[in-house]
Symmetry: C2
Subunit: 81 residues, 2 copies
């Protein structure tokens, strides 16, 4: 079973209100954190019949077409199994 | 600089509508994926003046109190730097 882990984060310079508000909330709770970045993660089960090169290529296409917005987001793909 | 990466996912058995709809959308686009799990990721900058044990303990407390809902979510902490 090949599983791809896709981490999607905002590019540097793009406003991250969820991250900023999480930082504020942590500060209010007494933790002295200096910054928080928020992001999304998808674990995609690609089944058995696929090799690593093919898997990476497919998942990159999925990121471009559906999972990420390449204008403001970066994606990072890790394959397991 | 110590940065903690926190991955928050739904526990097994908890409905994941975002994951299910992402799977459906990928299938409709022609990809034969067998399952998608969605989750969140936070990168927390803890500053310089903290050692690894202390950092892990603090971030675990942050997960319990703010970042995750331990009833339905799991969290996984990785420290860098």
């Amino acid at each position: 079973m090949v599983v791809a882990e896709v981490v999607i984060e905002l590019k540097e310079g793009v406003a991250d209100p969820e991250g900023m508000n999480t930082k504020k909330a942590l500060n209010l709770l007494g933790w002295d954190v200096e910054g928080v970045k928020s992001g999304k993660i998808f674990e995609i089960d690609l089944g058995e019949d696929i090799d690593e090169d093919e898997a990476r290529e497919e998942v990159e296409e999925m990121c471009k077409r559906l999972l990420a917005n390449p204008v403001i987001q970066t994606y990072d793909i890790t394959l397991e199994g």
